[in-house]
Symmetry: C2
Subunit: 200 residues, 2 copies
DNA sequence: AGATTAGTATACAGATCTGTATCCTTTATG
DNA sequence: CATAAAGGATACAGATCTGTATACTAATCT
């Protein structure tokens, strides 16, 4: 049996410690503002070990973003699906989950939006990761719109995704967690407008 | 007559050159990624002159943000008011103006959103500048909502502002300038829902 | 014209950044 | 036990960052 076998409840490997620390620091302070030395200090792992696991800072950045991607999506979708049962209420629940997210002490906006903000060059791996994250979120919404039997699910999903993005940055920039409530109110109107009373 | 008198059409002062260069570079590459040396090179002004006009990089950052604030708001509002005549169509025109903004080669998202993304500490001058910018934009929208005779202008303005924010980051992250079209579609629904048929 | 200001050019100090190297210790495994 | 792998501690190289200092030049005001 391999020693590298991942097992539940085991203390995290150095690699995982580094990634989690990177996620936290990049999330709070941004990527450029977070130096390797800072990550080393906060993770309790030496620089040599860091560079044994990751070729460069850029590789750590990408790994951290991808890790957070999976982590966040899992948590977010699970919360939505727990909070409500049918597609329509789940669409609305998205904004309730968002509000609890915005209200956390450790909320510093969307890590992917912030990452793109400091990396303008298009067609880079970082940009792809961020783009894909947003695409996945929209697809999650789209599925619910289809299940709800919306007349034009694609349109509705795009609109609701836009509201969610707007709520995120408004909560961040204007420090108003209740931007989620505004978004939810608008979402309710848009959903009602698209509701097909035949399905469900 | 003072030599520092500003006169139209005069070639820009060193100070203005520095500010404009800073706006451009901060906007494209972000604040942390843009060094003083880079600004010096691109502005054609020496470092000593820069530090004669600004105490520190931070002061230049704030000045640049405030400068861009006025510049952008002026341009944006003027375009909206030129494109349409009555409040309702002006509200919709916001998203047309946004789309041409998104489609520019030099579009790198909203400078203020990006700035906040790399400066998480609240209650700093930088955060105030960014917050005020968003507040002013929302108030611009609010005035139009009131003029339109919306049933709840405050609510409508908050919702439309959210849609605009969402469109900005979606256009930036997903590189889809037509996020503005989606926002406009949703805005039309929200506006119609709030329309009071008594006024105008 | 004379004096002051504004600006150029450039070097430099001190801090910080990414990434590497060296030496030693712990840990796991056959 | 013995050997190899993983990690800790630390110094360092080279680049880049903010901000300052020095010496010279061009413009401007009285």
């Amino acid at each position: 049996m391999s020693s590298k076998m991942k097992q539940k409840g085991a203390r995290p490997s150095k690699r995982e410690q580094l990634i989690q620390t990177a996620v936290n620091l990049f999330g709070q302070y941004g990527i450029h503002a977070t130096g390797i030395d800072t990550i080393v200090e906060h993770s309790g792992v030496t620089k040599k070990t860091l560079y044994a696991h990751f070729r460069s800072k850029e590789e750590l950045v990408l790994t951290a973003l991808r890790h957070y991607d999976g982590q966040f999506r899992n948590s977010f979708m699970r919360q939505v699906e727990t909070k409500a049962r049918n597609p329509k209420t789940r669409l609305l629940a998205i904004f309730d989950v968002a509000e609890t997210w915005f209200s956390q002490q450790s909320f510093y906006g969307c890590m992917f939006i912030n990452a793109v903000g400091e990396h303008s060059t298009p067609d880079t791996s970082l940009r792809y990761v961020c783009r894909d994250f947003k695409r996945m979120m929209t697809e999650f919404i789209l599925k619910l719109c289809i299940q709800m039997g919306a007349r034009n699910p694609q349109h509705l999903a795009e609109e609701l995704a836009l509201l969610l993005e707007g709520a995120i940055v408004t909560a961040q920039v204007s420090q108003k967690p209740d931007a989620a409530k505004i978004a939810k109110r608008a979402a309710a109107v848009l959903i009602e407008k698209q509701r097909s009373h035949e399905a469900f």
